[in-house]
């Protein structure tokens, strides 16, 4: 039984895809889209991350448990991000005016 394996073809395609995405995100970065710049950059980076995780790291093949672990990791990172940002987003807000 051989290790869940990505075929040579999909490795090469993933590699080229990653290079293309790096180029596009760099070019998009040069346009002035204000606060959207970082959002787009992170979205493209997430696509690249998905490619690496899925194909080069064989997450799409093999054990389903590995996929659960990855999703769990992402969820826990988001827990840390969202709950800390609830504080940072709402810190300036004042209480409804006093009685």
């Amino acid at each position: 039984m051989r290790v869940a394996e990505t075929s040579l073809r999909s490795i090469v395609i993933t590699w080229l895809g990653l290079l293309a995405l790096t180029l596009t995100s760099s070019l998009i970065g040069l346009l002035n889209l204000g606060s959207m710049n970082i959002v787009i950059a992170v979205v493209i980076a997430s696509v690249q991350a998905f490619l690496i995780l899925g194909f080069l790291m064989h997450a799409l093949y093999g054990q389903a448990l590995v996929r659960v672990v990855i999703v769990g990791g992402i969820i826990w990172f988001l827990i840390l991000m969202t709950l800390t940002s609830t504080d940072y987003l709402t810190r300036g807000w004042l209480l409804p005016s006093g009685k």
Binding site: R91, G92, W93, L94, L95, P96, S97, G98, K99
Partner: protein, 344 residues
């Protein structure tokens, strides 16, 4: 002396009732469980070493009951807790402001009328007091157990807490957040006095001029007047009647000129620039001004807003600078500005 059922501030009766309610609920549940444990241990003690008791291991209704009931009780506790929290955190609008500067291992309290106290606070009974607090070094926490109030005092940001004493007396004042070697000694007393004694105390306090006056001296000592003319033609924005007003900022957005905004404009002027003024001509005073001096300056700017600029301009003017003509105050939208501010 700490009063067990202290009723010495506005919120402490409400606090004590909720605390007592919790003690009763948890007490009954706790003793109920303990009694059941002891009863079972005795009633079902092992009589014959080889006996095999009934093996019932599940009973859904009971299971559902002790999931549902605690959930409901906990949500009720949450709601009541939030209501009490809002009462503690939301100062009434007519609160008298006192500034507190926490420094490693002492409290400096400054009344607006200029009296300055170390580790002691004299307040009239029945008057709601709002404490605006900042720390000069590490995180401290102002804690008056009898008034049921506590609030951390952070470096770099104003935090506020309010109370209204209802019974005269001397109450402990503690530092609640560990702040170094003499954290245990960083405390003092809050003297709630009935109004007559309080006014007697204020008179013989002999403060040498109000907080705003000290602020005014600093205003001229640090040459703020050179740019912030009363005429409004100086290189810096006009400060007359600025306090509490909405300010349009460079690059869009508006900010309310409250304590936090003014403190940031003094210490990091270029963080938020008022519209129409060039950047980076105002030097930063970070490190030159202590927190007390910043508070005095803010009190002065607040006072400039209340009193007509004319009376201040003549009183304490250094010779040699041109006497400004009083121009219309800076046009600003009359945004509905909540008087109470104090950045959280």
């Amino acid at each position: 002396m700490i009063h067990l059922i202290a009723f010495s501030s506005d919120i402490s009766p409400e606090y004590n009732h909720f605390f007592l309610l919790l003690v009763i609920i948890c007490g009954t549940v706790g003793t109920g469980i303990a009694a059941f444990l002891i009863y079972c241990a005795w009633r079902y003690r092992r009589r014959d070493p080889n006996e095999l008791p009934s093996q019932i291991a599940n009973y859904i209704p009971v299971e559902a009951a002790w999931i549902g009931i605690p959930a409901i009780v906990f949500i009720a506790m949450f709601v009541y807790g939030v209501k009490l929290y809002f009462d503690i955190e939301r100062p009434p609008d007519n609160a008298q402001v006192i500034y507190v500067v926490a420094k490693q291992w002492m409290w400096k309290l400054q009344h607006v009328d200029g009296t300055r106290e170390i580790n002691e606070l004299h307040v009239p009974v029945g008057q709601s007091i709002e404490l605006r607090m900042i720390s000069q070094d590490v995180i401290h926490s102002l804690y008056v157990p009898d008034f049921r109030i506590k609030q951390d005092v952070l470096p770099g940001r104003y935090t506020t807490i309010w109370f209204r004493a209802t019974r005269p007396g001397a109450y402990h004042l503690f530092c609640a957040e560990y702040c170094g070697t003499d954290h245990s000694h960083m405390g003092g007393w809050v003297y709630a006095m009935n109004p007559i004694d309080y006014s007697k105390w204020v008179r013989q306090g002999g403060a040498e001029g109000s907080l705003a006056d000290t602020g005014e001296k600093l205003f001229h000592q640090f040459a703020c007047a050179n740019c912030h003319h009363y005429s409004g033609h100086g290189r810096g924005p006009n400060l007359v009647e600025l306090y509490g007003r909405a300010v349009r900022l460079e690059g869009g957005g508006t900010g309310v000129a409250d304590d936090a905004y003014l403190r940031q404009s003094i210490l990091a002027p270029n963080a938020r620039i008022t519209e129409g003024f060039r950047r980076s001509i105002m030097p930063t005073f970070q490190g030159q001004l202590t927190e007390d001096q910043v508070i005095a300056l803010i009190a002065y700017i607040k006072a400039v807003g209340a009193r007509p600029a004319q009376s201040i301009a003549t009183e304490s003017y250094e010779p040699g600078t041109a006497k400004p003509a009083i121009s219309a105050a800076q046009p600003a939208p009359s945004a509905d500005v909540t008087k109470r501010s104090g950045g959280r």
